[in-house]
């Protein structure tokens, strides 16, 4: 076995992912390879040092979470929204890049953010931004309300003065003043945009995902 192959097995060894045969191969290599033995020791030392960083959580973390939960306003229920089930006939999605969403913050504490600050970690972060709400469901909402909807993953300052309601899934629906306000928001933050399939929008909303 050459050293490059041993390095793979060293990681497997550290992660307890090696088979017995692989462990035997590694042991055999290490018996006569001083640099690889040193590498393994160094890697074990790093792992051990990393594990030593583990700390206890703040004593009031759980209490604070529960207090915040108790203060959450009760959910309203809207008969119009049947999230599950039937998808809209056709999803008219004028999508403009999910990965260029503005940063997320709770609606209770809006603040100024730079929506174009796309991080270096976007390669996998975009996928982490799963919302558990399908585009079809948002389209259904657009159809039900005969409304154009821009989809937000984070609150933005423009929403502070808007009337809002909470949807059963925890999303917040902000009523925008008019089409211009919706377009401004869409352009500023490069948001996904949904319109009713068969109607001209009568209202404009920003949907802030939970």
């Amino acid at each position: 076995m050459i050293c490059e192959e041993a390095w793979i097995l060293i990681n497997g060894h550290l992660d307890h992912e090696n088979t017995q045969a692989e462990e035997a191969q590694l042991r055999e290599h290490l018996e006569h390879c001083t640099p690889c033995r040193a590498l393994l020791e160094a890697m074990e030392g790093c792992d051990e040092a990393l594990r030593s960083l583990e700390v206890e959580p703040p004593v009031d973390l759980c209490a604070n979470v529960m207090e915040a939960i108790r203060q959450e306003k009760p959910k309203k229920h809207h008969s119009w929204l049947k999230w599950a089930g039937a998808a809209a006939a056709a999803a008219l999605v004028m999508a403009v890049g999910l990965s260029k969403m503005p940063v997320r913050q709770e609606p209770e504490t809006p603040s100024v953010m730079n929506a174009r600050a796309v991080p270096e970690a976007a390669s996998y972060a975009a996928a982490l931004g799963s919302t558990d709400i399908s585009e079809e469901q948002i389209q259904e909402l657009a159809d039900d309300r005969i409304a154009a909807i821009v989809m937000l993953k984070e609150t933005v300052p423009e929403l502070q003065a808007c009337d809002c309601e909470e949807l059963p899934n925890g999303s917040i629906l902000y009523a925008l003043r008019d089409e211009k306000a919706a377009q401004t928001l869409r352009d500023a933050y490069e948001l996904n945009w949904y319109e009713p399939v068969n109607d001209v929008p009568k209202q404009y909303y920003a949907l802030l995902l939970p």
């Binding site: 160094a42 990393l50 583990e54 700390v55 973390l61 979470v65 709770e106 991080p119």
Partner: protein, 197 residues
């Protein structure tokens, strides 16, 4: 007594709000530590851990029982941390370990002035070195090492949490370890000690 996670989740979904505390207690340590490693300071980590649990509370009805709750929660927490890091647009620079904070925390200052046993000092130096090295890694490597080494998540779970392929997780963890080791070696910390096997 075995913690019946799904039963507790069902209780919460059935309206028992207070049962959620059991889930928080079960996961507060790993979730807080993940936040701490990712964002680099205890105050932000506490806020983010709290935010993650609140999001879990709000979104629990969307949790699908076929996936592990821990994976769902880690994924959600990772997302919260990444959003925060985007917003901050900065690298974590403060120390992650108690006892070597550079802020004006009075209690820690007092602690710093007391002579420490040699072993404890050595341990703190190691922790500081590895903390500094971790902070030099990019977000993805930091998350991978935290999930694998500290949280002991399997490659499969990490793949699910970070939406990567298992093979990618494996190779990137390897690269992350090597990068961490090189950074430590460059700063004079070879850590060639205390083999665990």
């Amino acid at each position: 007594m075995v913690f019946d996670e799904n039963k507790v989740i069902q209780q919460v979904l059935n309206g028992d709000q207070e049962a959620f505390a059991q889930l928080v207690q079960q996961y507060e340590k790993p979730i807080y530590n993940l936040c701490l490693r990712m964002v680099g300071n205890p105050d932000d980590a506490q806020d983010l851990a709290q935010e993650a649990f609140l999001k879990a509370w709000r979104g629990l009805r969307f949790y699908k029982f076929e996936a592990a709750f821990s994976t769902w929660l880690y994924r959600l927490t990772s997302n919260v941390c990444i959003d925060f890091l985007r917003q901050q647009k900065r690298r974590p620079t403060t120390s992650l370990t108690v006892g070597d904070e550079e802020d004006e925390n009075a209690e820690l200052e007092i602690q710093d002035h007391r002579p420490l046993p040699e072993e404890q000092m050595v341990q703190q130096e190691k922790q500081k070195a590895v903390t500094d090295a971790m902070n030099q890694l990019d977000d993805e490597f930091r998350m991978l090492l935290t999930l694998r080494v500290m949280e002991e998540r399997s490659y499969e779970q990490i793949a699910e949490i970070m939406d990567l392929k298992v093979g990618t997780v494996k190779s990137r963890i390897s690269r992350a370890r090597e990068k961490l080791r090189r950074i430590l070696a460059k700063s004079g910390n070879n850590f060639e000690f205390e083999s665990s096997n």
